[in-house]
C-alpha cells in the first residue's frame, strides 16, 4: 500500500532536499557568476600565456607528488593510530592535527625559518648534493608546503577509514599464518582501499588550493615556483580581476577533471570485485 501523499515523511524528504539544493545552488551560482565576470578572450589569452601554462604544469606536477607522498605517509600513520595503543598516543594525536588548525601562512613562515637554522641548512645542502636543486624558493619548497597541509587531511581520512574496518579480520589473518605486515597488506589495506582513494584525492585537492605557505616559503616566481593558486593571488593583487577569475575557472576545471577521473578509476576497482 502506498502511503498517502503528502505525509510527514514527505516533509522530511523536502527538508533534506532543501539542504542539498541550497548548498549545491550556492556552489553553482558562484561558478556561473565567475564565468560571467570574465570574457572568453581573457580565458583564451590566459590559456595561451606561457607563464600560466607553466603554472598549470607545475600545479599538476606538485599536487600529484604531494598527494602521493601524503598517502604514502598517511596510510601507515592512520593504521598505527587506529590499531595500536602506545604511551603518548593522545599527545601525538593532537600533534597530527596541528597543521589543520594552524593558519597556512604560519606553516610557510615556520618552514622558511626552519631552513635557515644550521640543521635546516645542512639538510638543504645534502638535498642539493643529491638532486642538484635547492629547497627554499624552488619547486621542492612548493611540494613541501603543499605536503605539510595535505598530509594532515590525508591522515585524518585514513585514521577514520581504519577505525571503520574490522580489526577482527586482521586478527583472523594472523591466526591463519600472517605476520602483522602481511595482515596489513593483504587484509587491512584492501579493505581500506576506498579510504585511500579519498585520502589521495582530498590531499590533491587541498594541495591545489593551498597558497599561503607556498607564497611565503617558495615565493611566487614566474616560470619557477608559480602555481595556479598563487597566480590567482598575484593577478588579484594587481587588480587584474578578469584574469584572476579566468585562472580560477581553469583551476576548477582541472580539479573537477582529476577528481572525476580518479573516482572513476577507483570505482572500476569496485566493479571488478
Amino acid at each position: 500500500m502506498i502511503p498517502r501523499w503528502p505525509n510527514r515523511d514527505t516533509w522530511f524528504l523536502i527538508a533534506l532536499g532543501g539542504a542539498l539544493g541550497f548548498y549545491v545552488l550556492l556552489i553553482l551560482a558562484m561558478l556561473v557568476v565567475d564565468a560571467a565576470y570574465t570574457r572568453f578572450d581573457v580565458i583564451w589569452r590566459a590559456v595561451h600565456d606561457p607563464d600560466i601554462l607553466f603554472a598549470v604544469k607545475l600545479s599538476v606536477f606538485s599536487c600529484t607528488i604531494s598527494a602521493l607522498l601524503s598517502v604514502l605517509v598517511a596510510v601507515p600513520i592512520g593504521y598505527l593510530m587506529s590499531r595500536m595503543r602506545f604511551p603518548g598516543r593522545t599527545l601525538i594525536d593532537v600533534c597530527l592535527d596541528i597543521p589543520i588548525v594552524l593558519p597556512p601562512l604560519v606553516i610557510g613562515l615556520s618552514l622558511l625559518i626552519l631552513f635557515q637554522t644550521s640543521a635546516g641548512r645542512a639538510l638543504e645542502s645534502w638535498f642539493q648534493a643529491l638532486t642538484g636543486s635547492r629547497i627554499t624558493y624552488e619547486v621542492p619548497a612548493v611540494i613541501l608546503a603543499q605536503f605539510m597541509v595535505a598530509c594532515a587531511f590525508a591522515v585524518r581520512t585514513m585514521r577514520a577509514t581504519f577505525d571503520q574496518t574490522n580489526p577482527r579480520a586482521e586478527q583472523v589473518a594472523l591466526t591463519l599464518g600472517c605476520t602483522r605486515a602481511q595482515a596489513f597488506r593483504l587484509v587491512a589495506l584492501p579493505e581500506a582501499w576506498k579510504g585511500v582513494i579519498t585520502a589521495g584525492t582530498l590531499a590533491w585537492a587541498r594541495a591545489l588550493g593551498e597558497f599561503g605557505p607556498i607564497l611565503v616559503f617558495a615565493g611566487a616566481t614566474r616560470q619557477r615556483t608559480e602555481v595556479l593558486s598563487t597566480t590567482v593571488f598575484l593577478e588579484l593583487s594587481v587588480g587584474r580581476l578578469d584574469t584572476a577569475v579566468a585562472v580560477s575557472l581553469l583551476m576548477i576545471l582541472i580539479a573537477v577533471l582529476v577528481l572525476v577521473l580518479v573516482r572513476r578509476w577507483g570505482a572500476l576497482g569496485e566493479g571488478a570485485r
Binding site: F61, T64, L109, L215, A272
Partner: protein
Amino acid sequence: MNRTRTRRLRLFGFVAVVAIVLTVTWPGHRTAPAAGTTPREHLLLYCAAGIRDPIQSIIADYAKEYGVTVDVQYGGSGTLLSNLQVARRGDLYLAADAKHMEEASTRGLVHETIPLASQHLVLAVKRGNPAGVHTLTDLVRPGLRVAYANPEVAAAGKAIRAVLEKANLWEQAHAQAAVFKPTVNDVLNDVVLGAVDVGVVWDPLLAGQPLLEAVKLPELTARRDQIRLGLLDSSTHPTQALHFARFVSARDRGLTTFTRFGYQVESGDRWEDHPALTLYSGGVNRVAIQETLRDFERREGCTVRVNYNGCGILLSQMKALPDGDAFPDAYLACDVSFLDPIADRFGERTLLSQTEVIILVPSANPHGIKRLNDLAQPGLRVGLCNAEQSTLGALTQRILTKLDLVAAIEPNVRSRTPTGDLLVTQLDTGSLDAVVVYRANATAVLDRHTALGINLPEARAVQPYAVAKQAQHAQLANRLLAALDGVSSRKRYLAAGFTQPTP
C-alpha cells in the same frame, strides 16, 4: 587467479598514467634564454692598451672555460672611442678611466658599464732613479726628457694633464715634453729603451719591469682613475657579451687576475654562469616593472627571482632571514617608510618612482565628491586601506590625521583591506562609493572611474631601490637599477600610473 591479474593490471595502469603525467609536467631547469640564435664564438673587445696584460690572461681563462674567443683591438682609450664610433661594430669597450666611459655613454655608444679596478699614475724611471726625479715640479726641470701619453687619445695623458693643470705646470710641461705617445705602453717602452728619462704611466704597468722603478708622487696617488668595462650599443650578441663582462668583473674570476697584476680592484659579484638575482618588491610595483625585469633577464642571461608582496610582509620576511643566499640582493619598497626599518642592511637608496594617493570614484560621481572632506557625507560607503598592513593605509591615515578628518570619515568606512587593488575591485563591483588608493592601482579602470588628486605633499608614496650590503650580486643589482631607470622602463612606469619622484 584472473582477479589478481586484473587487479595488477589496473594498478600498473595507474602507475603508468601517474608516471606519464609527472614526466610531462616535470619542471625542467630553465636554460639561459638565448638572445640571438646560436651563441657566437667570437666577441670583439676594444681595450685600452695599458690594460693589455691582465685582459690577455682573462681572455685565455674565459676561452678555456667557455670556449668563446674574444678578439681585441688595443689602443688609447680615446682612439678606441673614435674607432668604434666610426666602425659601429664590436661588443665591448674597456676604458682606462671613467671619463672616457662617460663620454661613450653620452654619445650613446655604450649601454651597461661595470667598474673593474682602479689605478693611479706614477713616474717610470730607470732603476736607481738616475735622473733624480722626486717631485712634480721636477717634471719641468730643464734638460729632463719626459714622455707623456697623448691627452687627446689616452686616459693616462688626460690624467696627467689634469694634475699638471691643477699645479699650473701644464703649459710648461707641454712645451718641454720630449714626446707624446699614442699609448701608455709606448711611453713605457721609451723609458725602457732609454729614449727618455721619465715616463708618466699607470702603476700596474711597472709590475713586470725589473729594469724600471716607480716614483710615487702624492698628487698622482691622490687621484685614482677607474677602469670600466662597457657594453656597446652596436653589439649584436649582448647576452653573450654580458656573460663575458660578468666574467671579467667577477671577484673569483677576472678580478683575481687584475689583483695579480697589481691593480686595486672594485668589489665584484661572485661568478655564476647563469646568476640568479633575488629581488623583493612591493606588490604595487609589479605591473610597472614586470616587462623590464623580463627584458633584463633575457639581456643579461640571468634569472630574477621576484618576491612580490605587501611591504609589511616583506619586511617581516627579511627580518627573519640572516645574511646569506636567501636574503634578497635588492629591495624595491612601496615607500621609503618601508625601507627605513631595515635600512641598516642595505646600501644607499635610489628613489626610483613615485605614485600619488588619490580618491577614486565612479565616473558618474553621483555624490559629487571633489575633496577628502566630501568623504564624510552621511551614508557614503568608503573604502580605505588598513594602516598597519599597508603603506597606502599608513599614508592615508597620516593624511586624514593632518586634515583632522579621521573621526568624521570613520562611520562611513565600510571596508578596510590590506591592498589598494582590492579596494579598486570593490569599487568596480559597485559595493563602495569612493576609495582612497594609489594612482598606480587605478590605471586599469580609468576608463570607467575618475581619479581625484589630493593636494598634499604627504599624499604620495616614493619607491626606493636599495642593494643589500651583503649582496652576492651587487653589480648585477646595480645594473638592474640602471635598467629600471632607463627609457623604456620609464615609459612603462608612466603607463602604470607612476611618475618620477619629485624632490
